[in-house]
Amino acid sequence: MHELADRKIIHVDMDAFYASVEQYDNPELRGKPIAVGGGSDRGVVAAASYEARKYGVRSAMPSVTAKRLCPDLIFVKHRFDRYREVSTQIREIFHDYTDLVEPLSLDEAYLDVTENKYNFPSATIIAYEIRRRIYEVTGITASAGISVNKFIAKIASDYNKPNGQKTIVPEEIIPFLEELDIRKFYGIGKVTAEKMYQHGIFTGNDLKRKSLEFLVEHFGKSGGHYYKIVRGIHKSPVKANRIRKSLGAERTFSENISSEVFMKERLVQIAEEIEKRIAKSDVAGKTITLKIKYRDFKTQTRSKTMPYYIRDKETILSTAVDLLEQESFRESVRLLGITLSNLNTSKIEEEDEDENDIVEVQLGFGF
């Protein structure tokens, strides 16, 4: 057996999930460019149908911009309860094959089918079956990536999207990763990619040429992660119960605010919402982050980490207000948000990922 071939992981990703649900439920929307989200001047696109994507409409894009790109764009109000319902149906299908399902969001999940309830040896066939059944039950298409770990499966699911799948067999992993654009590596974002470019790293192959020492020196602990993933090594297990890493709430205002007094009023409402969510998931956290989005969509975050866990509204609010007061506002503000992170649940998660740590090893003479 190939040394990398110890697991069979499927990454299932619904195609334009919210938009597809809307198109399925409202046949008159089918084949048309639609966007889920507020169509008002201040709204943001939560999801765009493939027809809309052709025009360059993307999720998280301000509705105004989307409208400019695609004048015929139809805005549909979101119905999260409905999406959750569909998501539950999909998960039931997953659980028909394996209980090792790690949902990433309503429309995405990892499945470990190394051992599965049907004893199917082929993960490719399972993925095909799952996609077929999702379409039968919900009328929505899904794409899938199949490989030996989460990282490669995730990259693969994007390969033949929409309504397609891609299997990367162990023998193909190394050549596949060598040719892969560095920006496509999961965990390498815009900033890291920029930094990699400066070191002449543009593809997986370039990355592979760098020594572990080099990567750790320039990218810190993540360097060890990059070193591993480019060699197709990513041991992170499919976690059936994904642990929450942060919890937050935010508000976009109907009109931009420039007075701190009004902003503080809004923070009170946001803190109340967070308090509700904290009570629901029974967590506490150490880090409070204040997010500010300006009129020009520039976003800024400021955070403060406490030496102890907090969960009460008063502390969260007063910290957020402190952070707000540190800010010198150069523009009016369209959105404020508060996030609580460094949660008391993440401990368990960190221990899980210990295997990713780089270790310094004392070499011996070999006798």
């Binding site: 270790v359 310094e360 090893v361 070499l363 006798f367």
Partner: protein
């Protein structure tokens, strides 16, 4: 049996002999010194079964006799006396020690209970100057291992040939070879000496110009000098082939002041990872950069030193503790560190301060990032 002896003279000798006695003996008789008197010669023995040390002391006496006397009790008593003559008088298994303030009585054991020291049959032999042997032990013993599972590496390897004496110690991560080409043995011989008798030899022979007679066979070795004999059992087993791990081609050579390097390594090592103690040496041109970083926290330090460096620019990581031990053990002004690759041993040697025929080679394996 009766003898008179100076309290400080007796204490000085017994203190050294007491070093052999274990704290918790399975055989209670080993908690004793064996005293054997023949006229004015008092032979004192201490043993832990593996190592036995015997010293001849001069006392004032015309008696003969022998007895086993509790070591700790005697040593504790001797410490408290100012210099004065002490009279020991044994009747049966009781000894009375009389001094200027009074007397103490000690219950002893019969001399016959004390185990007989081994005699080495058909020994080979060589002689070596006391201070030279002490130096050889001092240079090597710190590099020996402590692993019970690898007993051969817990001792110092003695390698005698007709043109040199070589002493080697290693714990599989670091290695020291101390070679004397100005001394030779009559026959080729190899044996592994345990640490305990070597530490005794080191303590007793530092600065000594006496000749030490070394006799040995396959299972035991005996060191005789100045009326003292140390006999020990050798460590059984085959010593690793250390020659094979000394890299031959070392194109990269760093020469630098020993104290400067030692001081920098000491400072930087405080910031190194607490388990691997890794520090990094980066050589480029005539500059040596020493740095350490604890990835678990965000502490780091680096220092720059000028040095003499010949070779390719390179970076290599070492356990700072090993470097500190080695640099500390050397006495020279300048050291040289020869290297080939970041995953091959570095060779540390003194540049100056060696006697004619004296040769010190220290090897240290790198610490590398790995997953």
């Amino acid at each position: 049996m009766k003898f008179i002896v100076s309290s400080s003279y007796l204490q000085k000798h017994l203190q050294l002999l007491g070093g052999v006695i274990n704290n918790n003996n399975t055989l209670p008789i080993l908690d004793n010194f064996l005293l054997e008197l023949t006229g004015s010669e008092l032979k004192v023995s201490a043993s832990d079964m593996e190592t036995t040390i015997v010293s001849k002391l001069e006392v004032e006496s015309e008696d003969d006799g022998s007895i086993a006397l509790p070591a700790k009790l005697l040593l504790d008593t001797l410490k408290t006396f100012p210099e004065q003559p002490l009279t020991f008088h044994a009747v049966g298994t009781m000894i009375t020690v009389s001094h200027d303030k009074g007397k103490s009585e000690i219950a002893c054991a019969a001399a016959e209970e004390f185990p007989k020291a081994v005699t080495i049959s058909e020994p080979s032999s060589t002689t070596i100057m006391g201070d030279t042997l002490a130096t050889a032990v001092n240079k090597t013993i710190f590099a020996a291992g402590n692993d019970d599972l690898r007993p051969v590496m817990s001792g110092v390897f003695f390698q005698f040939t007709s043109d040199s004496l070589t002493f080697v110690a290693t714990d599989a991560h670091k290695l020291v070879r101390y070679k004397r080409e100005d001394i030779a043995a009559s026959e080729t011989a190899e044996f592994i000496m345990p640490k305990k008798p070597l530490n005794l030899l080191k303590a007793m022979l530092q600065g000594s110009e006496s000749e030490v007679l070394v006799e040995y066979n396959d299972s035991n070795a005996q060191f005789s000098f100045d009326g003292t004999t140390i006999i020990c059992r050798l460590i059984d087993g085959k010593y690793p082939n250390y020659e094979a791990v000394i890299p031959k081609e070392n194109p990269n050579k760093l020469t630098i002041s020993r104290t400067q390097l030692l001081n920098s390594v000491r400072r930087v090592s405080i910031f190194s990872n607490k388990t691997t103690h890794q520090i990094r040496l980066k050589m480029a041109g005539a500059e040596l950069n020493i740095s350490a970083e604890d990835l678990d926290y965000s502490n780091k330090a680096d220092e720059r030193l000028t040095c003499d460096y010949q070779g390719d620019d390179m970076q290599i990581g070492f356990n700072s503790r090993f470097l500190i031990e080695m640099l500390n053990n050397l006495t020279c002004d300048d050291v040289s560190l020869e290297m080939s690759l970041p995953n091959r041993a570095g060779i540390l040697t003194p540049v100056d301060g060696l006697d004619e025929g004296e040769n010190v080679t220290m090897l240290v394996m790198p610490v590398m990032l790995n997953q």
